[in-house]
């Protein structure tokens, strides 16, 4: 009896091992057999060529750690990442699991079940109507009415994040002005309602909006950048270029940089110097400026297509002598900002020229934000004019003491 049961299990496993579902699930099916089968039954997920990593992230560290001490990059993924328009039938954008199994075992086409649920929930109808009305008003650029409709939808379902986000967006579009900033152009972020391009009044520093997103940060290349994991960043502004010496001096500060020039990045400054300057700027503009966090910096540092040399100043194009010749450290110098191509999001010199201070303290990944003390090492990103190309990789992490001034350290502004 026992022998026949064992033979049955072996047969089932051998059939399962050959199944296309398990092959498509790849390495995950070694442990998560049940979940893979759930995902492949009564679901369009498998037909859409998705697999576990599509929702849960690459999770390289989780795969490598057989004791399950490292969790997947996105343990609880959000359905909205792919289903941006929400459910095609109910228009519901959250609580997908009230109808669907997380891995889609329940049949979403079960009309009887759906009708029972919607009939039992009048707030759902109210929500749906108001969201639709809000979307209609948004299309007509009537922000006051759109805001009202979204706010009513929020009241119908207070836990619904989507309605709250849309309400905030409509409010921002209704009154786009922000303290200390003047808007450049007419482009706005559809999701958050923030203007895409702004300038700090009186100082002239241009900032670009980086929309909210879940970004995979880190790299398997270096121990300090492992594991690759997903971090959500809210929308934020980042200065288009590194802070220049002219901008630095506009607040009455003296430039400490050895290579002088109005359009050159300010360098040879410590993290503490940058904080003091930002505090002065905030006082003057009533703004809420700061340095970017490490995750924000990496989110914004998406290199453009093409050779690195076209978009970055680094060792190969900043030397004053012949390549390969004996050189002193001062044979390499920073260059004026924005003289190379911008990156994918429009930022200049994210890689190379001067390395940039971040707000974050240096901690082992996964990324978490913590205020830190005055002695904690602060993260430095982007590589500098004297660096070789690997230090310019968007994921490469470096750090320095907050009081340290190095000739290749500068910063850019975030808000």
């Amino acid at each position: 009896m026992a022998r026949s049961a064992l033979a049955g299990v072996v047969f089932a496993l051998s059939v399962a091992a050959q199944s296309p579902q398990l092959k498509q699930a790849g390495v995950c099916s070694r442990c998560h057999v049940a979940q893979v089968l759930e995902w492949s039954v009564a679901s369009k997920h498998i037909a859409a060529q998705t697999n576990c990593q599509t929702c849960h992230g690459p999770s390289a560290a989780h795969v490598a750690n057989e004791r399950n001490q490292v969790k997947p990059d996105r343990p609880i993924p959000t359905c909205q990442t792919c289903h941006t328009q929400g459910c095609p039938k109910t228009k519901q954008t959250e609580n997908c699991q009230s109808c669907h199994h997380p891995h889609a075992l329940a049949n979403p086409n079960d009309r009887q079940l759906r009708q029972t649920q919607t009939a039992a929930d009048p707030a759902q109808e109210n929500y749906k109507t108001n969201m639709a009305e809000g979307d209609r008003m948004t299309a007509l650029l009537d922000w006051a009415k759109a805001k009202e409709a979204y706010q009513t939808a929020t009241k119908a379902r207070p836990a619904d994040r989507r309605a709250a986000i849309r309400a905030r967006m409509a409010a921002r579009r209704q009154n786009p002005a922000q303290p200390g900033l003047e808007i450049i152009g007419t482009e706005y972020d559809e999701e958050s309602g923030y203007p895409k391009h702004v300038r700090i009044k009186g100082i002239g520093i241009e900032l670009l909006l980086v929309p909210a997103a879940d970004t995979d940060i880190g790299s398997d290349q270096w121990p300090a950048t492992r594991p690759v994991h997903s971090v959500h960043t809210e929308p934020f502004y980042l200065s288009k270029t590194e802070i220049t010496q002219q901008q630095w001096e506009a607040l009455g500060a003296e430039t400490p940089s050895p290579t002088k020039g109005a359009n050159f990045p300010v360098h040879n400054i410590s993290w503490a110097d940058a904080q003091a300057w930002i505090a002065k700027l905030n006082e003057k503009t009533q703004g809420n400026f700061r340095l970017p966090t490490e995750a924000e910096w990496e989110r914004a540092a998406q290199p453009a297509e093409g050779p690195l040399e076209d978009q970055a100043w680094y060792r190969v194009n900043t030397a004053t002598g012949a390549p390969g010749a004996f050189k002193e450290s001062n044979a390499y110098t920073p260059k004026p900002v924005a003289t190379k191509r911008p990156n994918k999001l429009g930022f200049h010199d994210m890689q190379g020229n001067v390395a940039e201070w971040c707000q974050s303290i240096l901690k082992p990944y996964p990324f978490t934000e913590a205020p830190g003390t005055k002695d904690d090492l602060r993260v430095v990103r982007g590589g500098a004019y004297a660096d070789s190309p690997e230090y310019l990789h968007p994921a490469f992490r470096h750090s320095e003491r907050p009081s340290r001034r190095n000739p290749w350290l500068g910063f850019r502004l975030a808000r």
Binding site: A224, S329, F396, S399, W408
Partner: protein, 366 residues
């Protein structure tokens, strides 16, 4: 210790410092293989042979070039042969400074065969090159760089140039171009400043011999040991001065300087009578030369990772290895314990080896 201190004051300070830190520092993890001891370098995963090789330029074969000195052909051949021999005898750390023409011959010797490719390469920045470019050049030339250091001169604290150079070294280590980064200096003040100012120091290379041990580094050594930093002794024979004092050493040896000195801020020369007193307190073993005793002194310090004397002659290498082998020999107490155990076994006619080793007993009896 001020340069004008009296002999009495010097010896008093020396004897007071004698056991102050050595006894309290935990011993470094070490392994023994093929007649050589390898010790863990600080908190890295690198094991360094207790006798390491400082490949200086032999002054007899020196040739001046635009950016430093190189060896003439004969001198180069002698050094290549000596390095190969040292590697074959278990020495695994070869140190050289960066200068025009210094690295390429060493890279050629190390790439000679697979065994020698396992050697650890220790390199140094030397002016006027940019350190970042040097590291990349070294990685291309050697295929790997295990230890890379910068030299700090004298002064009250680490200057801005050294701080920025150190930043480059840290980046290189993070990127995996270098396995361990360190400092070489002759100045205790600078060592303390480096410990305070520089992040992530893996090792120090500094002058250390039985004379220094009595008078210097009372502040630095406990702090370095507390932080788990690797310590490599350069000048373990006081730049050849101890060799000159050794009646059994080869007579034509020429030290860098004729007088014994303390390698500190002002290169303090020591009176011959002070040196004689310290030498007497060295406790030489029977038939041991002064050089061997001096090296054995460094080998037996629990906090030192390695001793790195400069070597120009094969005899010197053998002499230095002999000092190490003497250290490897069993002590009289250990021998007594073994002999007593043998006598007990013989008198009781019992097999005293564990079961899986009893075939050895049969072989001996046979």
């Amino acid at each position: 210790m001020c340069p004008r201190s009296t002999r009495r004051a010097f010896l008093a300070a020396a004897l007071a410092a004698r056991h102050s830190y050595a006894d309290t520092i935990p011993k470094i993890r070490e392994i023994r293989r093929g007649g050589m001891i390898y010790r863990q370098l600080g908190q890295t995963d690198i094991n360094v042979s207790l006798l390491s090789f400082g490949s200086h330029t032999d002054p007899r074969y020196k040739k001046k070039v635009e950016n430093g000195n190189v060896l003439q052909e004969e001198g180069q051949t002698r050094r290549d042969r000596l390095i190969a021999r040292a590697l074959d005898r278990g020495v695994n750390l070869i140190d050289t400074y960066e200068n025009e023409g210094q690295w390429s011959p060493l890279a050629k010797v190390l790439k000679g065969n697979n065994q020698r490719q396992r050697a650890l390469v220790s390199l140094c920045r030397q002016f006027p090159q940019f350190v970042g470019e040097n590291i990349d050049n070294a990685a291309r030339l050697f295929g790997h760089v295990d230890l890379y250091r910068i030299y700090l001169g004298e002064g009250k604290s680490v200057d801005a140039k050294a701080l920025s150079d150190w930043d480059v070294l840290r980046k290189a280590k993070q990127a995996g171009k270098v396995r361990a980064i360190g400092i070489s200096t002759h100045d205790e003040g600078m060592m303390l400043s480096a410990l305070k100012e520089l992040e992530g120091i893996d090792y120090f290379m500094f002058p250390y011999n039985f004379i220094h041990a009595r008078a210097d580094y009372a502040e630095f050594l406990p702090e370095a040991a507390r932080r788990g930093v690797g310590l490599i002794a350069i000048k373990p024979l006081a730049a050849g001065s101890i060799v000159k004092m050794d009646p059994k050493a080869k007579q034509n040896t020429s030290p860098e300087r004729d007088f014994v000195q303390l390698y500190q801020a002002k290169y303090r020369p020591l009176l011959p009578s002070v040196v004689a007193d310290l030498t007497k307190s060295l406790e030489q073993l029977p038939e041991e030369t002064l050089c061997q005793a001096a090296l054995r002194f460094v080998y037996t310090r629990p906090f030192m990772t390695a001793a790195m004397p400069g070597m120009f002659e094969e005899e010197t290498l053998e002499d230095n290895l002999a000092g190490l082998n003497r250290h490897l020999e069993l002590s009289r107490a250990e021998r007594n314990v073994l002999e007593a155990a043998t006598r007990v076994a013989q008198s009781t006619n019992q097999r005293w080896l564990p079961k899986h080793y009893q075939w050895l007993d049969q072989r001996w009896q046979g």
